[in-house]
Assembly symmetry: C2
Homo-oligomer: 162 residues x 2
Amino acid sequence: MKKPHSLDEAGLQRALAALRRVVREKGLRASSARERVALAALRYGGHFTVEDLVRRSKDERLEETHASTVYRTLPLLLEAGLLEEIRVHRDEGTFYERAFEREHHDHLVCVGCGAVVEFHSEEIEEVQREVAVSFGFVLTGHSHELRGTCTACRERGRESRA
Amino acid sequence: MKKPHSLDEAGLQRALAALRRVVREKGLRASSARERVALAALRYGGHFTVEDLVRRSKDERLEETHASTVYRTLPLLLEAGLLEEIRVHRDEGTFYERAFEREHHDHLVCVGCGAVVEFHSEEIEEVQREVAVSFGFVLTGHSHELRGTCTACRERGRESRA
DNA sequence: ATATGTGCAAAAGATTTGCAAGATC
DNA sequence: GATCTTGCAAATCTTTTGCACATAT
């Protein structure tokens, strides 16, 4: 269970700067609620939902940010490259994870116990680019999730069948 | 725009047989509603939603199958290998496509116009298996979607910026 | 006969939207 | 001051569930 090292203070500032840049480009205005959500998201260790952000977006005065505001802010955070949407986790809703200043990775999920492993394959990334080019596309992103059963779950299966 | 050739009558029968096998294995019973949904799905050319299946699941007497029944049937169709769930298409809901007797493929989507291209890379499939093995997993499935901008959309962008 | 399947309505979730009040440029 | 933002409530949408009746084994 590798814990993703979090951004330090300087990293947070760079991330906020990236957000402000996008906000400015779009002719929008600075707002503290938006930055509260961004900080909550950037500080989050693993995968999180909108609900999680609502709860953790409290500031010193314990002001929460409403869910609708979080929903309105998310597209900006994605566009600024602070977060990525992920589709791991079975039923439950939509999850996100930090993308800013973090190496890209995809996920391998156990359909038995839900364990999630991160992986990265430069070979796959390369083939993806080739595929895109061959169809005249310029890649802007991708999502790639592998599903399978982990060793532990296969053992468990064997027992219960015995 | 390559149209996926559809299953012929014999193929439909093989698919229904696969469904019946799963149904029997689970100790469930034969039902015509389930087969109506299966047929509607198998006959569908491209990508479709639950709503689409409801509309097209009419039989000779124009009996529709209720959405709740479609929802209850889908897991069986997936398990029987008749369909696959896909995550292409931006906002809109969940889509499915036929998987039975059809070569596996993934999708490349244009974020500008929504065009969807199917691709297949044996090299990627191979690396996926290697990755899974390296983490002690046995693969049961995956979803892989590339996003980018197609040639036409890039041209359009250039014009409007001009 | 008994257990499963289906239609229908209601419930449950997640996300979006309209609006009045508050913040920013 | 004009315009963007936010909180809040209500509206939407998709999917799930409870139940009474229909159907299959």
